[in-house]
Point group: C3
Chain length 309, copies 3
């Protein structure tokens, strides 16, 4: 990855690169448990966090990763930006780059916005979520969490449950997990699963009770409540009845299932509170691993070697 400049998505990223990131992230994960969590890696480097969509956890996670690598950080959010004044995205970003910044973390509602930037800028670009397209660091932290807990990704069965159609988290997980040799099941209402998704190497289910007995991991996607208005599912209660992951439903599992959720959770909708707080839930581990994965990506794109000392 030393010669790699950007992390735009996981589609097409080879297995060795994913492994290099996950191995590096594991080393950083240990740094996070030290009393002093700061390394000088990015000292004197400037990272701009360009968030054109509101975000709490992803922005804070990146910001902490950057601070712990001693980067200089500038935050930029669309609400206070020149974007409002009619400037094009490329002009906005070229301007920021002209201020001599080294790395850009971008979240944008348009699929492909990070790719566009990567073609016009010299800086390293990291995609922090582009529309319904990809959210690669989320999938990396999900994979890191599975690997830490189950010891491997190859041969593991991971079920993604919920709104697959609008989920960049699902898309990046599918690309990454299939590359790593995992078996991927997707499960949700037919209105929320894209046609021909089987071509990506996944199996499609519409009944979560068929999925649970086969899976090692359930990655439960957030139900974006605004989809209901568009008629994509009838009611929250009905969604919960058919797809909500509850303790009773999990009794059909043949082995303890790892419970994952990218957050923020709608407790009582896609996941019941007792499942979210159960001993098999690794939801907060995901969050911790998120910081480590983002430190790893920043470190490697900045030219670091996979071995950290």
């Amino acid at each position: 990855m030393a010669e790699k400049k950007h992390l735009l998505g996981l589609d097409g990223v080879p297995r060795e690169e994913i492994e290099a990131i996950l191995n590096t992230a594991r080393s950083f994960r240990e740094v996070l448990d030290r009393p002093i969590k700061r390394l000088p890696t990015l000292q004197g480097k400037t990272v701009v966090n360009l968030f054109f969509e509101p975000s709490t956890r992803t922005r804070i996670s990146f910001e902490l990763a950057e601070k712990r690598l001693s980067a200089d950080i500038v935050n930029f959010s669309a609400s206070t930006s020149s974007v409002k004044k009619g400037e094009t995205l490329i002009d906005t970003v070229k301007n920021i780059q002209a201020m001599k910044i080294d790395m850009v973390v971008i979240r944008h509602s348009s699929p492909g916005a990070p790719h566009l930037l990567s073609r016009v800028l010299d800086a390293n670009i990291i995609n922090a979520g582009d529309g319904g397209h990809e959210h690669p660091t989320q999938a990396l932290l999900d994979m890191m969490t599975i690997r830490e807990k189950l010891g491997k990704l190859e041969g593991v069965t991971v079920a993604l449950v919920g709104d697959i159609s609008h989920s960049r988290v699902a898309m990046s997980n599918i690309h990454g997990l299939t590359t790593m040799g995992a078996r991927v099941l997707v499960c949700g209402p037919s209105t929320l699963i894209p046609r021909e998704i089987e071509k990506l190497g996944v199996e499609v289910y519409h009944n979560v009770d068929e999925v649970i007995p086969q899976a090692d991991v359930l990655n439960i996607l957030r139900l974006q409540l605004e989809r209901q208005r568009k008629g994509l599912f009838p009611s929250l209660r009905e969604y919960h009845n058919y797809f909500g992951i509850t303790r009773e439903r999990l009794e059909k599992a043949t082995r303890p299932l790892l419970i994952m959720h990218p957050g923020p959770m709608n407790r009582g909708v896609e996941i019941s509170s007792d499942v979210a707080d159960s001993e098999h839930s690794v939801i907060l581990e995901q969050v911790t691993n998120g910081v480590a994965v983002r430190m790893a990506v920043l470190y490697l794109l900045a030219g670091g070697q996979s071995e950290i000392n």
Copy 2:
């Protein structure tokens, strides 16, 4: 205080602990007058400022205290947060904690929010104002200012003037000042003083002209103008006539009174401009001491000893 984990309020905090904070704050106060105002105390520690209510001066004061102790800082405000997306407060905070943070400064409109957090989190929690309940660092800076100016707190007569019912500043001052042996008078319209407040060890007055001759210190509370709509006082003019602190009114003092206000001031309402700017006003000293007190609290909660070198 070395074994203490949180600063949730001043209710029940023993005299020695308050004294340790005030003594430590005095040392930091000297640091603030140096050309280089930065100490390495919190290097590599991460502090999150969780502000669920808008705030300027308290947030900036904490942020400066944190920066001057070299902490890594993440700011979080409710307007940009997952709270909007329906996540519970505990989930939001557990997520932030999972990113391996060390201290949380929280302002929230619900009384007891910091206490709730202290029960679920490992981090040190500092209450930066919780509804009408407590605002301990404000009371500490008020006490520091009185002690610096009058040389002591024991036996000093402090009058809190204004809206006592809705004031977390008043509540924390009452707890802290009575613990330190000061005499506390509260004065305001009967609609703005809680029943049975005498049980906290204070004397109640409704006529500010009776209070002035007895007091050493007037701590003039901000009148929150939105109370008027609720009919708690008739008009700004009438409030000013009965409770506004003016130069004429102060002529009834038997000795020079220390004039304090937690800010932001409504000049011409609870305080006249000439009083705010008079030679006995220590309103800006309060602000300076606020940074020192917050540095002291951060330092002591992080395990520092009361003696700073």
Copy 3:
């Protein structure tokens, strides 16, 4: 400039001081091209960025300049401030100063707000734009860009094109450029040029095609679209036809013209896209020089000598 405390505007600033800033900025410009862009100059100093008007590029440019000089930074924007709670500007700023800050960068919609602050505060004040009055660091970066490209300012002909009446950028450029011995032309619709502006030492034109053959530099001002509602120009199309700088129009130039714009650009209104992106456009150089100029101003106001090592 060692004894100078503030940068409030360029009106009345002598030539030697402008030259000292531009020379210092050139040294910092080289720092920006280094892999490690951080200097310890302002370590332990606190800078407050007080932005009472929304701003992206100027705020980020100042913030980067401050970070690269290792200052401690506090950002303050009006939308989250006590200003909303009815506090006066002077009280807000005195409070912030009482927290022991060293420098204030202020943007405000009222002309003269920075001057007001400079009379009540001990801190160094830098004007980042005050209403239609001045924006001195923008003019300094414009002058730096011209000097870097053309080797001098003396005798150079600079045309400011567009809305002169409402432009603090134009005002500061006029003061600075005339001091430095440049010839300054202003060109725009008569509704957008102040009467008697000739008294500032500039020549007035209303036909941009007369200006182009004489100029070495075109500084194309942003058309603030809200002016149209006030009837100051008939339509965007008509404005573009009469004053928009296009490639065809530039064919009337007798030599290659330096194309400048303070941003954000309205492509297709005051400037066509091919001109903005042409080989003579130095618009992105302006942005880079902006960071260098702001580093220079911060450095010199903090007491630095003109020679940087």
